[in-house]
């Protein structure tokens, strides 16, 4: 793998950048792999990377029906945080956070992970109880977190309306300084480049059209381009399309796919230096390194695979942003788009064995997928490598919806993020 550095840039500038190597190959698939990962988004690519790096399993293919990182990885609002309420999710997201903190160096690819802090605002007494509860749990779990009062919030976000004159005055916030944002596309590309260097094959524009299941166990996948490709184990990491793969495997999931929308303003000079999220007024915003205000909306209530949501959802979000930041009223909205989020009833993911042997699912991340990317890949890789679920993944079994051992994170995920 060609190593990246400032010096390398200088060197390549002398040859007019004509000698950069490909970041990943365009391979011809083998007939059989130890592991096939369906879905070349951030989670799938991270899984492949860690399979190779941590477990020495390099006979791996990632099959992606579009282009790498082209699903929700390319469509989210890039927020990273780990201040989840319940132990199970807190540990998982904190595991991801620790990986984030060294990811650029590990991948030799700058994913621009920017720990500019995440504020979750409270506007009601119950919001504040929930914030206290979550921060208390975070601290005892070793996750950074503080409860701030409006004065302290004002110091961090001087341009937000922290006064008493608003419809829902800000009463306080939780503050995770280690939280922040990352450059979403770079995460997929960095993992892909890293996996490729280990010999992982990434098959783009290749669609899995069926699964090959014999005696209750998966033995391969059928693709539109290359016919059947055999595999020892198969991991499905297809986010909003999980139901489609599950249908091929013959089971239902406790998942519904919904549109989730986001939007950006025109680029403006730096004015917001942290991530601001509000469940109650229902919106969240950060400012990218390019200057765009990156804004996330809530989920639409109906199922949809169209990567489009409802206009009123966007209107409500814009109202929330202007409620928090009245000065943004004259700023202009440049672009809006939608992704497909697969949501579980308890707002927690599924990282699980399935009724089909050797077929594993990693899905149901709802609005919380991006921030988990390295952690999700890491524990899923361990599970695929050993055939046994990683201890951190165990609570996220799809079978929890049978016995009732849910991990209800709605309080932490009331608004999309």
């Amino acid at each position: 793998m060609q190593r990246y550095s400032g010096f390398g840039l200088l060197k390549h500038s002398l040859t007019h950048h004509e000698n950069w190597q490909r970041v990943w190959r365009n391979p011809t698939p083998k007939k059989e792999y130890d592991v096939i990962i369906i879905g070349g988004g951030g989670h799938g690519l991270a899984t492949a990377y860690y399979l190779a790096k941590e477990h020495g399993i390099t006979n791996v293919a990632v099959i992606e029906k579009g282009y790498l990182g082209g699903g929700n990885t390319a469509r989210n609002t890039t927020i990273v945080r780990s201040n989840y309420l319940w132990d199970e999710s807190a540990h998982l997201y904190e595991h991801a956070m620790k990986l984030w903190e060294g990811l650029s160096q590990d991948l030799n690819y700058n994913v621009m992970f920017s720990q500019r802090g995440v504020l979750n605002l409270g506007h009601t007494l119950q919001d504040m109880r929930d914030i206290q509860r979550r921060v208390s749990a975070n601290r005892l779990n070793g996750i950074d977190g503080e409860v701030l009062d409006p004065q302290q919030i004002k110091e961090i976000v001087p341009h937000m309306d922290c006064s008493d004159n608003t419809r829902y005055p800000i009463m306080g916030a939780s503050w995770q300084p280690r939280g922040g944002v990352a450059r979403h596309d770079a995460v997929a590309w960095g993992f892909a480049r890293g996996a490729d260097a280990y010999g992982v094959d990434m098959l783009q524009e290749t669609e899995v059209v069926d699964l090959v299941i014999e005696d209750g166990a998966i033995v391969g996948v059928k693709t539109n381009k290359y016919g059947v490709i055999k595999a020892g184990r198969v991991g499905s990491v297809v986010a909003g399309n999980s139901g489609v793969i599950a249908k091929m495997a013959g089971f239902d999931l406790p998942i519904e796919s919904h549109p989730l929308q986001a939007m950006v303003s025109e680029p403006i000079k730096p004015i917001l230096d942290t991530v601001v999220m509000s469940n109650h007024v229902h919106g969240y915003v950060s400012q990218s390194d390019k200057g765009d205000l990156v804004i996330g909306a809530g989920i639409d209530g109906w199922n949809g695979y169209g990567q489009r949501g409802s206009f009123p959802t966007i209107e409500h979000t814009m109202q929330a942003i202007v409620e928090l930041f009245p000065i943004f009223s004259r700023v202009r909205l440049n672009r809006q788009w939608g992704g497909i989020v697969d949501t579980c009833p308890d707002a927690c993911p599924i990282i699980s064995k399935t009724p089909v042997e050797n077929l594993f699912f990693n899905c149901g991340w709802g609005t919380g997928g991006f921030k988990a990317t390295p952690g999700s890949g890491h524990v899923f890789a361990a599970s695929l490598a050993t055939g046994e679920m990683h201890p951190m993944a165990k609570p996220f079994s799809m079978f929890r919806f049978h016995d009732g051992a849910l991990i209800d994170e709605h309080g932490a995920a009331g608004v999309a993020h």
Partner: protein
């Protein structure tokens, strides 16, 4: 300063109305009818911005929505600042104040340009992914440097003084674009009486006709425009919206139009006027007549000010009377491009050369040029531009027929303006908003709208039909099509016609070859605003970014505020060439709303400030305000939280309210509780199915508390329901849960048990609920009613009807405080009257108003739960120690019964709600605190529960708390620890939830 580029005559400007405006601190003059861009060009201003990455000087390129460079900061005051206004779309008004958004110390001399020049070579696409990683500790420093360069304009720092609103529209046909095709379509539809909306982003209707010299039926095209607009304006069901951009095309033919009502008048909307309006349109049919954007050609240094697209040159000359330079070189791949040179020549400025990339063009316009004696150089191209802040000359060379390489010697020509035309790209943005993929049309050399499920028709330029005659007839056809689909009668529209002109085929060419390979040639810009070059796209492709989405994302192409209107097709062509594919094989990108940026304020409308969300008030709200209440937001309700006296702290106030209630009598406005009237012979059966406890035997005139669970067995609401008649019940719900509970009841009734005879109606707003509570509440009530309030006649959990303060009332003897308590319900129109009468008579009992906080303390003293505070969707009734409220004897398997019998719900050691008493009586455990059994365990600690409610109880003289603890009900007397952020560890003993009057005697007196 004079307007050196202004022509003495011509154009649609009013030379008798001069307008002063400021640009970068200097005052200039333009005319009514100018855009800011035309006025800037008229005044000979070359540099209007600096590029994002390389800080290269940039000038005006285009004349409309596609302009990437002339993006300015507007606003005369702090509160009226608007970032990133496209000067080509901003009409000039007197006093307009504008500034370039980049450049230090100013846009003409930008120090950052040195960084761009020196470091530019080290900034290929995606360079930031490859560096700034080592040492890790310096990333924050690197990032703050990167961040400083962010952004174009700036946000205002003061609140917007203007108002915005939204209007919902319905129509038969929405016509987008009022050029020849749109006008023809609108006329056709309107004449049959269809409801038509015609919207156009420009200040005047007419589109390309406004800057055209062509004649229609021998008359100026604009005179036909005027007659068409006049006719439309006279139709009753036609809405004409100029200055209105259709920005988004959403599902089921829902479109949004951003109308700017005052931006052309002044900095701030004149008094009484709305600045901008968002029309939310539901159209039965849509006709997209959005036209096309001209493509510039990609050649070296094609971003030097003075480089423009050819049609923009014509527009400035013909519509604004401005010639944006002195000496023109035109490069074109097609006949249309010639018009710029013809217009330039007709404006009596020098056309240095027309450089046609085609070998032997002979079309009508070509011949016109030759006839005027213009220097037409064929089979050649401008391969490079000289100059930095303004074009000073060009290098022209012959190229091969395919346009792939330079074949001959290079000639230098002096010029200050280079117009280029690479053909036209249909404006297909709206058609792809709803997920329709555009399709490539080789004949058009561009993408045209693809198949769609929307009720959408297209006409004119969007279909690649660019001549006026074609546009007009396509417009009529679209109109007729729409009428046919709408079952409206067809109408006849007689069209004027323009003189036919022989058009020759265009050459399919995007990037002009240079002597050097792209990687070494001077920069050839594809996307000006994001500084994406042809070489950059090649690097991306070389590195394996082969999907066009990857190319886009890796290079940032199309991510500017112009969303790549000029550059996207050129970029795809460059990528296709690099990948050795065709453009359609490379794929297109999907356009998303907005077509052009929309003001946040317009998206928000009037749902901001005071109107952001409804404030719901009870009938006694005014009294609470007048008596100094602090309010708590509960859902949309404003509830009295506590009523501090002057100088009183919150705790002092609560102590007073709590004591007064237990010692004498307090009063609470409980009107916000949800109230649902239930009638029908099966009402009782229904209640039994929806609540966890039994309802079969509740007698008329009695009340009962009930818990409501989801099918998962988890508690989601609670309240008291009363039996008013054998078939008539009144259910109460939590304040926040009322709408959800009503929908829940309807869901079960309508979809699962329609055979049950029962009706539900909300009466939340109908009744005012005045709760008096405390040992003197009976005495107080007896002052206002003749009804026998004795315990024998009116016992606990009774409801009676009587007259209170002259008003018929339903009085419930139920208690959430554990005190003798009456909930007086009167029709809300009389709530205030009764409330005031209670105070008149309550003086002698020190009647004390209390709010939700005191209510919380008093109920916690009694261990009563608040659904939503002591529950969180993960606790069932047994977890709450409320098995007494669950009746598994009922014949019907009530909602939640099976759910709470699942394996995980039955396991040992679930978290259970208990009381908690601190070892230090005065210490109040913060709500939300997590509990541990072992305070010395290292982090991560094993958490065993948390505090749900916690207060200081003035009545008891110590703090009280409720919380869940693993296996808590069997751990009475044990100690748990609550480690705090400040290092304290609060010790507490697990105890019964009932802190006061465990036998419940006080409420039964």
């Amino acid at each position: 300063m004079s307007q050196k580029n202004r022509l003495g005559t011509g154009g649609r400007i009013d030379r008798t109305t001069p307008l002063k405006f400021q640009y970068n601190g200097k005052t200039y003059t333009g005319f009514q009818g100018d855009t800011l861009a035309s006025a800037i060009l008229a005044n000979g201003i070359d540099v209007v911005g600096r590029s994002f990455k390389y800080s290269r000087p940039r000038g005006v390129v285009a004349a409309g929505a596609e302009e990437p460079n002339a993006v300015l900061q507007l606003g005369a005051t702090e509160e009226t600042q608007v970032p990133n206004v496209r000067a080509t779309q901003q009409e000039l008004f007197d006093g307009l104040t504008s500034q370039a958004v980049n450049g230090w110390p100013n846009v003409d001399n930008d120090m950052m340009s040195w960084v761009g020049k020196l470091g530019g070579k080290m900034m290929p696409p995606g360079f930031y992914y490859k560096t700034f990683m080592y040492p890790k500790s310096l990333w924050d420093t690197y990032e703050s440097m990167i961040r400083k360069a962010a952004g174009l304009g700036r946000s205002p720092l003061e609140n917007d003084p203007d108002t915005y609103d939204k209007v919902n529209q319905h129509c038969d046909v929405l016509v987008v674009g009022a050029g020849p095709a749109g006008l023809a379509a609108a006329l056709t539809a309107a004449r049959s009486g269809a409801r038509v909306i015609l919207a156009d982003e420009q200040s005047e209707f007419g589109g390309s006709l406004l800057s055209s010299k062509e004649l229609l039926d021998g008359k100026p095209a604009t005179s036909w425009v005027k007659s068409a607009v006049d006719e439309l304006a006279g139709c009753a069901d036609v809405l004409l919206l100029p200055r209105a951009t259709v920005n988004g095309y959403h599902d089921h033919n829902f479109l949004t139009i951003h109308e700017r009502l005052t931006d052309h008048l002044a900095d701030k909307a004149p008094v009484g006027m709305v600045r901008q309006r968002l029309h939310r349109v539901r159209a039965k049919w849509v006709v997209l007549a959005t036209g096309a954007h001209e493509r510039p050609l990609v050649f070296s240094n094609n971003d030097v000010p003075g480089c423009m697209i050819a049609s923009a040159v014509s527009t400035y000359i013909n519509r604004y009377g401005v010639v944006p330079g002195s000496e023109l070189v035109l490069m074109t791949t097609n006949d249309y491009g010639y018009q710029a040179a013809l217009d330039w020549h007709d404006a009596q400025r020098k056309v240095v050369a027309i450089v046609d990339t085609r070998q032997n063009p002979q079309g009508a316009r070509v011949e016109q040029a030759r006839k005027r004696g213009l220097n037409v150089i064929t089979g050649s191209a401008v391969i490079e531009v000289q100059g930095s802040k303004r074009v000073s000359g060009v290098s022209v060379a012959t190229i091969d027929a395919a346009g792939n390489k330079v074949t001959g010697a290079v000639n230098r020509l002096n010029a200050d303006t280079v117009a280029s035309s690479g053909g036209w790209s249909p404006v297909i943005h709206l058609s792809s908003h709803t997920g329709s993929r555009p399709v490539w049309d080789d004949k058009v050399v561009g993408f045209v709208p693809g198949p769609t499920v929307q009720k959408q028709l297209t006409a004119g330029g969007i279909n690649g039909k660019y001549s006026i005659n074609e546009a007009l007839s396509e417009g009529v056809l679209a109109g007729l099509n729409a009428l046919a689909k709408l079952d409206l009668p067809a109408t006849e529209v007689v069209l004027p016609s323009a003189a036919d002109m022989v058009e020759e085929a265009s050459m399919t060419l995007f990037q002009i070859p240079h002597l050097l390979p792209t990687s070494k040639a001077p920069k050839q810009f594809v996307d000006y605003q994001t500084d994406v070059t042809a070489a950059g796209i090649e690097v991306a492709c070389r590195e394996g970014f082969e999907s066009i989405e990857h190319v886009k994302r890796y290079t940032a192409m199309g991510f500017g505020t112009d969303q790549g209107k000029l550059g996207n097709i050129n970029g795809m062509a460059v990528a296709a060439k690099a990948l050795n594919k065709t453009i359609p094989e490379t794929g297109t990108t999907i356009f998303r709303p907005n077509y052009t940026p929309v003001t946040f304020g317009a998206m928000v409308g009037r749902d901001c400030g005071e109107l952001f969300d409804p404030k719901r008030y009870t009938a006694m709200h005014k009294w609470h305000v007048e008596h100094g209440a602090k309010f708590e937001d509960v859902g949309q309700w404003k509830r009295g939280w506590y009523y501090p006296k002057p100088g009183e702290s919150m705790q002092e106030c609560l102590d007073r309210e709590c004591k007064a209630t237990r010692d004498s009598v307090g009063i609470l406005d409980a009107s916000t509780l949800g109230k649902i009237d239930i009638q029908g012979a099966d009402a009782r059966e229904f209640l039994g199915r929806i609540y966890t406890n039994a309802w079969a035997k509740l007698a008329v005139g009695k009340c009962r508390y009930g818990l409501m669970c989801g099918e998962d067995g988890m508690v989601f609401d609670d309240g008291v329901t009363s039996c008013l008649g054998d078939n008539h019940f009144l259910m109460t719900t939590t304040t926040g849960g009322a709408p959800r509970v009503l929908e829940w009841l309807e869901l079960w009734h309508q979809t699962e048990w329609p055979e049950l005879d029962v009706y539900f109606n909300t009466v939340t707003d109908h009744w005012s609920t005045l709760t008096i509570s405390g040992p003197n509440s009976r005495k107080l009530l007896s002052e206002l009613t003749d009804f026998d309030l004795s315990n024998e006649n009116f016992s606990f959990m009774d409801v009676h009807q009587c007259t209170v303060a002259g008003v018929p009332a339903r009085v419930f003897r139920i208690s959430f405080t554990g005190e003798l308590s009456y909930e007086i319900n009167v029709q809300a129109n009389y709530g205030m009257h009764v409330w005031e009468k209670l105070f008149e008579h309550g003086k002698q009992f020190n009647l004390t108003p209390y709010g939700t906080e005191t209510m919380h303390v008093l109920r916690a003293e009694k261990g009563f739960i608040i659904a939503g505070q002591d529950t969180d969707g993960s606790v069932h009734p047994h977890d709450l120690g409320m098995s007494w409220c669950v009746s598994d004897q009922k014949p019907f398997s009530y909602v939640g019964k099976r759910g709470m019998a699942r394996q995980d719900c039955m396991r040992e050691n679930r978290k259970q709600l208990v009381g908690l008493k601190t070892k230090e009586p005065k210490v109040v455990i913060p709500e939300g605190s997590q509990a541990v059994f072992d305070p010395n365990e290292p982090i991560p600690m094993t958490m065993v529960g948390h505090i749900t409610s916690s207060y200081y109880s003035a009545n008891l003289g110590h703090s009280i708390a409720m919380g869940v603890i693993k296996g808590g009900l069997s751990r009475m007397g044990e100690t748990v620890y609550y480690p705090q952020a400040d290092g304290r560890v609060i010790e507490a003993e697990i105890c019964s939830l009932v802190f006061l009057d465990p036998k419940g005697e006080r409420q039964n007196v």
